[in-house]
Symmetry: C2
Subunit: 171 residues, 2 copies
DNA sequence: TCCCTTCAGTTCGGTCATCGAACCGTAGCT
DNA sequence: AGCTACGGTTCGATGACCGAACTGAAGGGA
């Protein structure tokens, strides 16, 4: 039916969600935003996405109110998750946990812990110690045993040590 | 880097997950499988996906152990979710709930209830009455107030009345 | 001041995926 | 024998994505 990327005939909120978030690279861009990446160049270097595609994805994410673009210096911008973007965390986490379980041959790549009590989260996002599901701002990420140092861009290097989600990753 | 659909340079289980489940139409195919659709023709009629694309998606889903293909009559097949496929439910549900919240102008399209106690699930998938997160086999789906009858294929019609997930949708 | 680098894109030609429509073979029904 | 349904396959056209090169503004160093 539809031409290109939308699912026109579907009266379904999953389809509506996928029209934004289901395009190639978009989820990985958002993952990096949760990890604390904020700048065009860092996203590009970490993802190896064609620049034109990255530009396109960022503008649609901004247009749809998932990212906010601010000029931190003349001509240079930062992209930050809005509340609408933050609300995508459960979906993104669930998908990555499925990947950890079913498609991570050498063991887990990353471990997410509730920062307040330093307990590893369950695949559902629940902190077993507190009985709560912490929001991304309360989550720390550490590399797991299955993570291999394949990349050497600045973002990949920074992600090799413990880091609080949503806080700026680069010095 | 990668050509086409994979995210080769990323040592990340989200990327690994998206290589399978992130292609166009794949999530909607899986959604229909959770809803109880099992046959090629029903999927095609409900999704308006090009037949060649549907064939390709189904074979990769089978190859990756997410769907199981069985011959229910000479030359005719049924596709059913395996355990690995069932494990995608939290991700699929989370994404559709995000769509319900942020991209459903006329109200919710579908309501999911815990069949055992007939209580509507929270966006997290939790049943507030039981305090548990029911698996898809224990969930009923009913049309919500925002759902409009735009399609008239057999699947869409069947989905207009209450239905238990994973049970065959067509008579 | 001049040169060099960084950032954040844009432009472009080529390749790959997806599109709609038509075609095909098997099986059951009448 | 003829018709329909199912589950695909084939094909040419269109659109998305690819890598590489180019741009333009700003900052830093000599």
């Amino acid at each position: 039916m539809g031409l290109g990327k939308n699912y026109d005939g579907q009266d379904c909120s999953l389809a509506r969600a996928l029209e934004i978030v289901g395009e190639r690279w978009t989820m990985l861009v958002l993952r990096d935003c949760f990890f604390g990446v904020r700048r065009f160049t860092d996203l590009q270097a970490h993802l190896d996405v064609p620049r034109a595609v990255l530009t396109e994805r960022l503008t649609t994410l901004v247009d749809d109110g998932i990212l906010e673009r601010t000029e931190y210096r003349r001509g240079r911008h930062e992209y930050r998750l809005t509340q609408r973007g933050l609300d995508l965390w459960p979906a993104l986490f669930a998908l990555s946990q499925w990947g950890e379980r079913h498609r991570a041959p050498n063991g887990r790549r990353r471990i997410f812990t509730h920062a307040a009590c330093d307990t590893a989260l369950e695949p559902t996002g629940l902190c077993p110690a507190c009985g709560t599901v912490p929001p991304p701002a309360d989550i720390d990420m550490t590399p797991g045993p299955g993570m291999r140092p394949v990349r050497d861009d600045a973002v990949s290097v920074a992600l090799r040590s413990r880091h609080r989600l949503l806080t700026p990753l680069m010095a």
